[in-house]
Each structure stands twice: as structure tokens, then as C-alpha cells.
Amino acid sequence: MFPSWPIRFHHHTPVVGSSKSGGGGGGGEESTDSGSAANTLSTTVPESPVSTKPSSSDHHHLQPPQMDGAGGFSQSHQTAGRQTPEKTLRRLAQNREAARKSRLRKKAYVQQLESSRIRLTQLEQDLHRARSQGIFLGGGGVAGGSISSGGAIFDMEYARWLDEDLRHMSELRTAVQAHLTDGDLRVIVDAYISHYDEIFRLKGVAAKSDVFHLITGMWATPAERCFLWMGGFRPSDLIKMLISQLDPLTEQQIMGIYGLQQTSQQAEDALSQGLEQLQQSLIDTIANGSINDSMHHMAVALGKLANLEGFVRQADNLRQQTLHQLRRILTVRQAARCFLVIGEYYGRLRALSSLWASRPREALQMADDNSCQTTTDLHMVQSSQNQFSNF
């Protein structure tokens, strides 16, 4: 039946041994030939000629040889035989375990790669946006094409703030058109004020690390930079722009708005004169340094430069107070429309910068075609205006 198995399993029954050694032919013969001995040993041996139950045979063969009371010889063979399948089983189990662990590790690694890839794309997008605002539209004017970490961080935060601004704007727009109650509108309007409070807070942080980045307007688009005052918008300009767009106003409100225009103008003038004095003082320090004590003069100059941060902070403070005062003067509904006007105004200014940057360059070579070029630009600006005007 199992010619490979050692015949000594059943050495105590010579009949069995001899029949076993006879080969695998005629299982039935064997079973009968093995006689009663085999039968007494195991009841699991099938009577069918072809034995297809190795397990049963195993069992048959692996039965402990208690009956023969044999010495070590049969036992050693038996243990040798038992070890192999056991070792195999253990080895197989270990292999399975190792494979499973390997699969888990690979899965974890792939997941890590995926999340890193997503994070990398996001960072690339942020950086690209920051660069396009700060460097590309600036005509590549930044020395070395690099910005400080404080400046880069602010640019990214500002880009995010601009996205938030669009969201607030659409919320305001739908709120105004939907004729919400004053209470609901107030929530949205106050949220927009907080949104502006946030950018002033961020600018305060940025001013500490890189005031030059703020004051030179590298974070803003070229058109905005053109009208930049002390690192941001000029409050009195904003009020002037709003005066025509805010009617109908009560007489008291008109007084309030004109008063705000006057106070913001006075405050701006005061800060501008203070900054002028700082610049003059700085020029004097740098110009008057002799070779001997140039280091000292540089240290003094550095100390004076540190005051720049104070001026940018005061300018931002002025901008913030102006917006808050607007909110106080106007009713909730008027304030909502007012902030929509402000948001759209700066949106158009930014769009103007993009249009300017992407205007067709052939105009530079076709000198006599300048008039046509202007008309084209005007058409583009008008179409964008139609896009924005919602009142």
C-alpha cells in the first residue's frame, strides 16, 4: 500500500511486513494478506483496493508502538517520521505568518505614500499660488526668486484667506438676495468682520518676521500694490469709493461716513509723517557712518528699522477700526451690501492685475496698433465688470 513507509512499523507481525514489502499492488490483497494483524492494528484501513486516505494511513502508521514494546529503533523511525510533518507544518505556518506581516507592512507603506503624495500636491498648489501672486505678477522682481519663510508662510495664509473671502462673498450675496431677517443677516455680516480681523491678526504676526514683505506689498497683486499705503489699503480711499455706493443713507449716517472719511484721512497723514521722519532718520544714519564706526551705525540703523513694524501695525489697526466703525454707522442690511461692494471692488482690482499680466504682448511691437490694443483691453475689463456687477 505504501511502499515508501518503512516496513518495520509492523515488524512484530512478519506477515504484515512481508505483505507490505510486496509493493503497492492490490490493496485489497494486502489488506487481506496483512491478515488479522493489520486489521487488529487499525480499523481505519479501507477495504477498497486503492487507498486514498493517507491521513488514515498516517494514523495507522503513526500509532504509537505501544503494543510491540519495542526499543528505540522503531521509535526513532516513528519520531523521525512524526517530526518531518510537524516541522513542515510549523514551517508552513511561519511562512504564512511572515507573508501576512509582509503584506500588512506593504499596505501600510503604500497608504503612507498615498497620503504624502496628497500632501505634496497641496503644498505645491499653495506654493504655486503664493509664487504667482508674489513673484510672477511682480515681473520676477524678487532678488534670487526666493522669499523669506515668514513671507512665504504669510503668502500661503493670505491665499487661503482669499479663498475664504470668496466663500463669505457668495454667502453675503445669497443672504442679501434672499431677504433674510436682520438677525440672520447680522450673523453673516459679523462673520465677515471677523474674517477681516483674522487677516489683520495674520499680518501682525507676519510683520514681526518680515515687515519688508508686507510694506513692499509683495503679497498683493500689482494693481493693489500700486495703491498700497503702509502695507495695505488706504482707509480714506475705501470710504471715498463707498460714499457713492452706499445710498440711501440717513442724514446722521451721511454725517458719520463723512466724519469717518475725515478722521481716517487725518490718522493716515499723521502716520505717513511719522514714517517719513523714520525714513529721513534712517537715511541720515546710513549716510553719515564713517568707516571707523560703520558697524555702530549699522546697529543704530537696524534699531531704527525695527520701528517699521510699529507703523505697519498702526496702519493695520487703522484699517481694522475703519471697518468696525463702518459696521457701527450702517444698519445690518446696509453693512451687508457695503461689504459686498468692498469685496467686489478688491476682486476687480485683482482681476485687473491678472488681465494686465496676461495681456497680448504683440502690442509692444505694433506701435501704431496701440489704440486697438487698448480697446481690446477695455472690452476685457468691461466683460469682467459685467461678471461682477450684481446690484
Partner: protein
């Protein structure tokens, strides 16, 4: 202290060098500050080289107000006053600090906020520093 109506926009605040003050020098710097602050309608504590102080002086000048300015770097006991002012403001830069009608208004940011919110002019009128 004279408060002349401004016929021209030229800055003409009176810079006062602090002498012992009325015979008896006030020993406590805080008392000195209080005394000086109540001595005029508008009082600005400043340092002559400070540009933000220059800005606050220009602000009052632009409104037609002539504040009394104490330049602390020109006062032998100016450092003490600077320390008191810094404490009053809760830390940070000691100058410029503005008092109107003897009451503390604050540093530049509070002065600006007060002006924008429309509170500064009434304060000045109340103290007699502005009319019309």
C-alpha cells in the same frame, strides 16, 4: 498754557522741560505723571527721537490742537516716568502716551481707535482743547 486757534497748519506745540515743579519736587514718579497729566488739556509724553511720537504730535496738530509735550529723553528723571508709563500701559513701549483732561487715553493704537470711532473730538472739546 495758551491754546491759540490754528491760523496755519504749522506744528506749534509747546515743549516743556520739566523742572522740579512748583518748588517741591515730587519724589514719586507716579505722582509726577499724575500732576503733569492734569496740568494741561492735552498732554503727550514723548521721546524726541521717536517717530511714532512725531506721528501722534502731527495728528493733534492736524486737528488744530496744541498738546503739551514732555520729551522724556531731555528730562533727568525721564527714565522713571517711562517706567511708570510702561506700567500704566501694561507693558510695551512707554511712548507716546496721551492724556486728555487729566485722563489716560493710551498709546498710539488707542488714540487712533478713539479718533476713528469718533470719541476723540468730544474728549478734546470737553477738555477745552478744541472748539467749533
Amino acid at each position: 498754557m495758551q491754546f491759540q486757534p490754528e491760523t496755519h497748519s504749522y506744528y506749534s506745540a509747546s515743549s516743556v522741560v520739566i523742572h522740579g515743579g512748583g518748588g517741591v519736587a515730587a519724589a514719586d514718579p507716579f505722582e509726577r505723571v499724575v500732576r503733569l497729566a492734569s496740568g494741561s488739556a492735552v498732554v503727550v509724553f514723548s521721546v524726541s527721537t521717536c517717530c511714532m511720537c512725531h506721528a501722534v504730535k502731527r495728528l493733534f496738530c492736524g486737528m488744530g490742537v496744541s498738546p503739551t509735550v514732555y520729551e522724556l529723553d531731555q528730562d533727568p528723571r525721564g527714565k522713571e516716568i517711562e517706567r511708570v508709563l510702561s506700567q500704566l500701559l501694561g507693558g510695551g513701549s512707554a511712548v507716546p502716551v496721551v492724556f486728555i483732561g487729566g485722563k489716560l487715553v493710551g498709546a498710539m493704537d488707542r488714540v487712533m481707535a478713539s479718533h476713528i470711532s469718533g470719541n476723540l473730538v468730544p474728549l478734546l472739546k470737553e477738555a477745552g482743547a478744541l472748539w467749533l
